[in-house]
Amino acid sequence: MIDKTLAQRSAGAVLECEVNGRKIAIETPPARRLLSILRDDLGLTGTKRSCEIGRCGACMVLIDGKPRNSCLTMAYQCSGRSITTIEGLADEERLHPVQECFLEEGGYQCGYCTPGMIVSVKALLDDTPDPTMEQIEEALTGNLCRCTGYGGILRSVARAIERGGEAT
């Protein structure tokens, strides 16, 4: 069997991290997917479940500010990290500017891809406030939309860039 010094080095049953600015400690198997933790354990159902293999982007969240597919991420990989979901973008008073732009420009139809889309756009604009078309396409390659044909989405992104993260 395995020796004791090795045994001390396994991931524990409690995940400690930050979700939308709040420190949490939650009992969970270390290989449980972040997607399940968010939706089923924490009730944060804005993060959507669809392909479950990293191909659609409906489950996109930010981990330490970078977009990540929560369906590909396990609990132990979130230890000590800061996670932001779609629910964490708006403050008490109002929506995040990117959310407002999606509303104003009709950046969605059924809305299923929208939380993931908005999370990816937020990460892009935090990093690159004035992206080129190529950078926008690059940042959104992992987010698929079956409804809009992307026209409304690109319009929303253009508007968000114009506003430069400011509220109107």
């Binding site: 198997p29 270390p30 997917r33 982007g57 990540r68 992992g142």
Partner: protein, 310 residues
């Protein structure tokens, strides 16, 4: 969704080794019940598809400090196996020393997957899109068997058995030209063709690295092709035709034929072998043709570029 209930019932334990030796000892202790995990992006796909069982134990290589380092050395570039694809693509030393690898890495999956996936995971996959580029760059793989390190050429490793004991710790890109007083130009091209333009599994992936004398003579060239489940390999017949020559239209016809002949794609359910062979040969001939017509083209387009190395 099936994953959902299973997740709670039989979630594997996750081990966090502190160094390569500890990782290998854990694997030796658990044998077939354990797998090494880097970014877990490929493993997750395999678990969901049912092509690999969820094991009882995961050995997390990301917990080993320093394995994700990217370092420029006197004679090349060393990329830790745990370096995220995103960091490989963004690292200034990689852009300077291995623009071909940067092009290849940027063609893997989408940005969010690259924030998590590692170069080592892509290499151990064997059919990953970085592999043709690593073959063209004559990369070396550094493995740790729990006691010592061993360096093995990427081509040699691909020719061997897929299950190798130990862990991959780093990928070394030797600077073949260093120390040489040369006014040769370094030239490279990378192309991945799939069923859509981006974020797609490849049908054909081609990588070329060459050094070219001022008069256009190809001093040294390596061409590699993979795609889909094809284990990438060098197209040595085409390389031999080109070495020491200034390519022209006639030579490129022979190069096309040689590539068509030697590239042997693993079967794909939706694309005929003949189509993929023609695609690979066309891409190679077209890239070489472009390099003749636009010798100074640098870093534009689909990842082909040239630069001086004097």
């Amino acid at each position: 969704m099936a994953m959902e209930e299973k997740e709670r019932l039989r979630s594997p334990s996750v081990w966090l080794p502190r160094d390569p030796g500890e990782a290998v000892r854990l694997k030796e202790a658990f044998g077939g019940d354990a797998v090494y995990v880097a970014g877990s992006t490929l493993l997750r796909t395999q678990w969901e598809a049912g092509t690999a069982p969820v094991p009882a134990h995961l050995i997390d290589l990301a917990s080993i400090p320093g394995l994700d380092r990217i370092e420029e050395t006197d004679d090349g570039l060393v990329i830790g196996s745990l370096a995220r694809l995103r960091d490989c693509a963004a690292h200034p030393a990689a852009a300077g020393k291995a623009p071909l690898l940067v092009s290849a890495v940027k063609a893997i999956a989408g940005a969010s997957v690259r924030n998590q996936a590692t170069l080592g995971g892509n290499v151990v996959y064997r059919v990953g899109d970085s592999m043709p580029a690593l073959l063209a760059l004559d990369a070396e793989l550094i493995w740790h068997d729990g006691r010592t390190e061993e360096t093995i050429g990427a081509a040699e490793w691909l020719a061997g058995p897929s299950a190798r004991p130990g862990i991959l710790t780093a990928i070394r890109l030797p600077d073949r030209e260093s120390g040489m007083t040369s006014n040769r130009r370094r030239w490279f091209a990378f192309h991945k063709v799939g069923r859509r333009e981006a974020f797609v599994p490849s049908l054909v992936t081609v990588a070329i690295a060459a050094s070219v004398a001022p008069d256009g003579t190809i001093a040294d060239i390596r061409i590699a092709a993979g795609g889909g489940q094809t284990v990438p390999r060098r197209l040595t017949d085409a390389e031999r035709l080109l070495a020491g020559r200034i390519p022209d239209a006639e030579l490129l016809e022979h190069v096309y034929d040689a590539a068509l002949e030697q590239y042997a794609p693993a079967p794909d359910p939706f694309a005929a072998d003949s189509y993929r062979k023609r695609t690979a040969a066309n891409l190679i001939a077209a890239e070489l043709w472009k390099s003749l017509r636009e010798p100074d083209r640098a870093g534009k387009g689909d990842g082909d570029a040239s630069e001086s190395i004097d």
